[in-house]
Symmetry: C2
Subunit: 490 residues, 2 copies
């Protein structure tokens, strides 16, 4: 097994190699589109199952809307079309035919669509065109719907999980009678995301709102959770949008109020995607491979026998299978790898690469001592534990590992937040340390744009918990009441 | 609530109305594409969860492959491109721009793709192009992968669930070292489908193989399960294909055998789709609405209070909530509908329309007698049962309903299978009774084609359990060894 490029040597290459070598994903024959391999997809399934339960616990139902959006729909909301028309896949024909010269198949020019269809980059327009028929009275509200789907954005520079032409995501689309209710919903879902990303994926995040120029195309307010990668670059981990009445106006969605008046409906939308898997990898993993928080690991424990003879293997297997079933009863997923074609050392490397949180090694000597050896993936520490009570021990250990992975990520993230008060310091910190920079900003789009052009740092968010504090903008010197969060970002 | 057109009056209209009124699905603004509404999608989720578990129990893993297929890939397998080129959505451009006249957005002619992309109608080609890199040695086999995805086939005449331009499905794609192993896999998955459709969806099916002209484009053998709808028309409920080495040859996928030789890989693919929801509706439902088998019903039990005063409602609610939690503990999904805006009679109709298997009605008099009223959706029968032990009673009743729905469908299906020995009888039965016709066929594609043109009946399958029997083809009089299954079909 070839070793990985180290993070220090080349973080970007380390990431690309790791995604492929750990069997998470690979590039496909289609420009910018990835193949999510079974191991990567198993992580996505665990994420989906958890998120889906959290959505249902907060009153949402799933539905499914068409993948195609008529070009005219996209045009109905002015900001929205500006944001999404530039990077979309356009279906213009509905048939191929044999080439007259026998060279293969060609697009049949007679099968041209009257109106082109866009492969959805996001579904606000097709969904609000549908909600028009679902909403008549205040009794029909709220609509709390989520969709699990693939979407396509024609990105020019792509990277596995982080930025791909096609990706998988969920998109919630809700409709409400009042502005207040919609704002509460948008904030509620931001909190669901923060809870999920922190407690299941072990990634600490900062909650905030976007500056107007970084808002979702068509939103009145965009909330986001922002994470920090090991290399000091930020990553937007999820967004929740308060859409005001923009889509209701564009698609004429009104309801009759209790008082009998006709009112436009208020909207939210919110989404997280397979991009989160990129964040997972870049937050926790090390030069030996993935480090997976137990809550998200498809295999939480692997058992590896170390033996010379078939007889030894048989005895070890009896104990291993017993431990496996004890762990299984506690809801822990276990793999027992008794393959003979591979040596224990090879297996150790393989499961370190794959980020399995706990490895149990069993050899003949261990059995004599009524113990097994436990190795933690997060700290790489090893210890022995008695066979009696091993399941309870491992269960507690998995909790400890989950907590430790989060704590470690949080410590690192916190060490990468710097308050700066001058533009010189801003630039120095950005270049020398990276990370998040908390600085005063005068609120103008011009300054935001200039800082972005000069430093490649953008305003990641205006933190929800930002303290009121008198200050002056690091760039313009104009007065400011709050620090905002800058960073270079993925 | 408007009543449904009866099945006798117009079966087709009954179906279309039912799908919409029961909140299962509706047509979207995009030609041929449907919106699957939350109630319909909840059924799909139950189907997915069950099938997914069955796939995993038989050793399969999920993965995800790109939605786009380069035109050249589709052309590599000759039969495959013939079958799928005629009805596909073709992406030719990757950007829109503002129209110079300010009239909206237009396709940017400068953003033309070098090679057109097809929105996947099925994924054999993109997947085998990927497997090329996954397979080197016999140790890399078998590959047992499934994908949950949306696919697009540009059908001209569409119908909700039964035939839509976009639909949801799963597609299994496996790779094997030997022909025998691939055939076993194709047959195993046919049996998984039959098990699922019969025992979870309550739909009896006949297992068989397709005639060569009805095979999947690119398959050596297509296995299918065939169901019979109430109106005497057949519906193909699932297919499993033995693909031979066709895709391995087209994409040059070889492995090194234990003996060191280079061999082409053997393949299968298999799929079921949201079409099954159409089969579910058309098999069991009646003029009052859906009839859902308990195993597939998102809500298995609804509790409706019947009361005059708030005080009565309070007493009833105490009992109802207790019953709900008892049922919940047994893993039964329950809804308690205590809404005051709707009268009990309205609710009864609503839940009959939605096909909820069991309704529990509780009134003040029932409480005096320590009993509740139970109504079965399948037979529309009502009875009283003591509150003590109601959960156990309902659990047993749900099992009984599941069995009864299947038994009823099977009885009806069996009554619609007719053995015929002459072409006159064949045509008479087809026109007067419909259903499946078991008739001798000489095995020629010409006769199959003629019968199809003259009667619109196709060979649904050659049943796996067909008995060896000397006979003569109903059309040609040529000798035949087996009866095959004909029907008009959806």
């Amino acid at each position: 097994m070839a070793t990985l490029t180290s993070r220090e040597e080349d973080y970007s290459r380390w990431y690309n190699e790791l995604v492929v070598k750990a069997d998470m994903a690979e590039n496909s024959g289609v420009r910018g589109c990835m193949v999510i391999k079974p191991y990567g997809y198993a992580i996505w399934e665990k994420m989906q199952r958890q998120l889906d339960q959290m959505f249902k616990d907060t009153g949402h139902e799933n539905a499914y809307f068409p993948i195609f959006i008529p070009k005219s729909y996209l045009s109905k909301e002015a900001d929205h079309v500006e944001g999404f028309a530039k990077e979309c896949a356009v279906v213009t024909h509905y048939r191929l035919k044999n080439a007259p010269d026998g060279s293969g198949v060609i697009v049949d020019p007679e099968a041209k669509l009257e109106e082109e269809l866009i492969v959805r980059p996001t579904s606000e327009t097709i969904i609000w065109n549908t909600y028009k028929n679902w909403v008549k009275s205040y009794r029909d509200l709220p609509i709390l719907v989520n969709q699990w789907a693939n979407v396509v954005r024609w990105e020019m520079r792509t990277r596995l999980f982080l930025r791909t032409a096609e990706f998988l995501w969920q998109e919630g689309h809700t409709a409400h009678a009042t502005e207040e209710e919609a704002v509460i919903e948008a904030e509620k879902m931001l909190n669901v995301y923060a809870d999920f990303v922190e407690n299941f994926m072990g990634i600490p995040v900062i909650k905030g709102v976007k500056s107007p120029s970084e808002r979702f195309a068509g939103a009145e307010e965009t909330y986001s959770i922002e994470a920090m990668m090991q290399d000091g670059k930020a990553l937007q981990a999820g967004t929740s949008h308060f859409l005001g009445q923009n889509f209701a106006r564009a698609f004429d969605v009104k309801y009759q109020s209790k008082e009998g008046t006709q009112e436009y409906v208020w909207a939210t939308s919110w989404g997280v995607s397979t991009r989160l898997i990129g964040a997972l990898i870049m937050t926790h993993s090390d030069d030996r491979g993935l480090v997976l928080p137990p809550n998200i690991a498809p295999i939480q424990v692997v058992i590896v026998p170390v033996h010379r003879t078939d007889e030894q293997l048989e005895t070890i297997s009896r104990v291993a299978n017993d431990i496996r079933s004890q762990l299984g009863n506690k809801g822990i997923s276990v793999k027992y790898d008794d393959r003979n074609e591979y040596k224990p050392g090879w297996k150790f490397n393989e499961y370190e690469l794959k980020g399995i949180p706990v490895r149990i090694t069993i050899g003949p000597k261990d059995l004599e001592n009524n113990q097994v050896e436990i190795a933690r993936r997060d700290t790489l520490e090893k210890h022995f534990t008695p066979i009696e009570g091993v399941a309870e021990h491992v269960r507690n250990l998995l909790k400890e590992i989950q907590d430790n992975i989060y704590a470690k990520a949080k410590e690192h993230r916190d060490s990468l937040i710097t308050k700066v008060d001058t533009y010189e310091e801003f630039k120095r910190v950005l270049d020398e340390e990276g990370g998040f920079i908390l600085a005063h900003w005068d609120g103008s789009a011009e300054v935001e744009e200039k800082i972005k052009n000069e430093t490649k740092a953008t305003i990641r968010c205006i933190p929800l918990d930002a303290e009121e504090e008198d200050g002056v903008c690091v760039y313009s010197g104009n007065p400011s009441k709050k620090r905002v969060l800058f960073a270079r970002a993925y």
